[in-house]
Amino acid sequence: MKETQAYIERIKRVNRVCQRLELAVDKSLSAMLAGQAMLVRRIDKDYDSENWEPYLRELWFPVEILASNIVVVEHPARTHFLPGQLLSIIGPVGQPFRFRQKLRNILLIAYHTTPAALLLMLPPLLAKQVSITLVLMGSAREYETNHLPEEIEVMQAEDNLTWPDMVMTLGWADQVFALVGPGDELSYLNEVLQLMRERRSDIPANYVFGVLQRALPCGVGACHACMLKLRGSLKLPCIDGPAFDLTELQLN
């Protein structure tokens, strides 16, 4: 991990709801793997004049890595960015997602958030012939998916968080990653886990992972503001996250 500067090289509107930013970054960041993120702060060209609003760094997950120093991130279209904007980046933050060795089918869930934090895993998984299903739940249903690879099956959950053939999908998946929006994230994850427990007799270890996007004030394990209670231990999402085995996580 180190602090580096980057700038927004290109901004591309990919559909009605989201835009993609191409960032020219330090080479160390182009080695990021799915699950890892950057703590980003917009800075002025004159580094001496600091703007403290917003105060904390934002958590940006890469969705694509184009070349040795171009990282793509995705943001809602309503957020205003300008090409040339300088950024201060601390990263990479967190640990890569851990996939099963014999992964064939993977279920991705985005609940009350865009699935951006899950997208970097798509190209390597598709290259390994892994079948991918993405389920959008809650406000994530507003996310448009026409820019995602065609091989991905996208489903929209109903208001009661179920989707057609849900039992079959859960049986089919070798692994599940459930990404939830910030805020009441633990209760969102609890809802996801309950849905699974009602439809699957056993939830083995390392089967369903909750992916968190909580505020990481320091990103280095110093402030302990992001600390999570797991069965028998405490973990820091900025160091050990963002994905945690849902059967280990204390969700109440």
Partner: protein
Amino acid sequence: MAIEIARPGKQSLIVSTPVMPAAGTVGFGDCYKALLDYGKLGAVVTNPVTVEPWRPASGTRIVPLGAGVLVHTGLPNPGLSKVIGQNRRTWAGMPIPVILHLVGTSAEKMRQAVELVDEVEEIVAVELGLGDDIEEAEAIDLVAEASRMEKPLLVRLPFYECHQLALPVAEAGADALVMTAAPRGTARDRHTGRLVSGRIYGPLIKPMILRLVGRLRREVSANLPIIASGGIHSPQDARDYMDAGAIAVQVDTATWAQPKMLERIARDLGGWIATRQKDAFPDEWNPDMGHTEAIRRRAPQ
């Protein structure tokens, strides 16, 4: 430069630059080693530690504010013995003095803490954090108990009671006053809609604490050092506190937002920076900035 930042009489607490991180911002050990040059700081103050382990707070812990943040962590820590055991080797390798921040809970717990801490030579001094709404008599008991130790005792005063407590605490044995803990406040978490109470950090609290520091400097004995803490986000903020009579400063959450700011302030007040070369690139001026020059040359004008 050598500055003694605690009242003489016990072991000395000498720093090479009057800048250190505030308790709770840089962890127990060297979490920021990849982002900061600890050698440029005056000292390091650990996260708050209690004798017994404390669990993290439930619910929302961070509420972003306009230009600041509300923080409610619950001061999670594995307890004093484990903190010492897990970090002793790291502290021994630190190029600067380590100040352990102890949370003042009761005189009995403080007695246990004093016995443990006095035997740990890697801890150079102790900062005792007094709780908000603490009674004067209770504060005096805690400080009297903590001051039995041979190490210098800094006492961090609560924001709202700092003026009332400063003199009694100094008389009870404080070797320096840290002014102050961040003020408490309440804000609504926009994600959950719930109100959250915690400490308020950000540039806005500096004017309030600056006034308190100036006022107290005039009222307490000149040989009692005051270390200012609260809202420092630039070298000028730190200098303002020094002008108001502080002997040293603690930088709090600015480190989270811009880690190198802590080092920049330390370099500035430590006399590392004399002049800035005309037309210098930011990374020549701020050694943290890495590839700025290359990036700027490629950036659209």
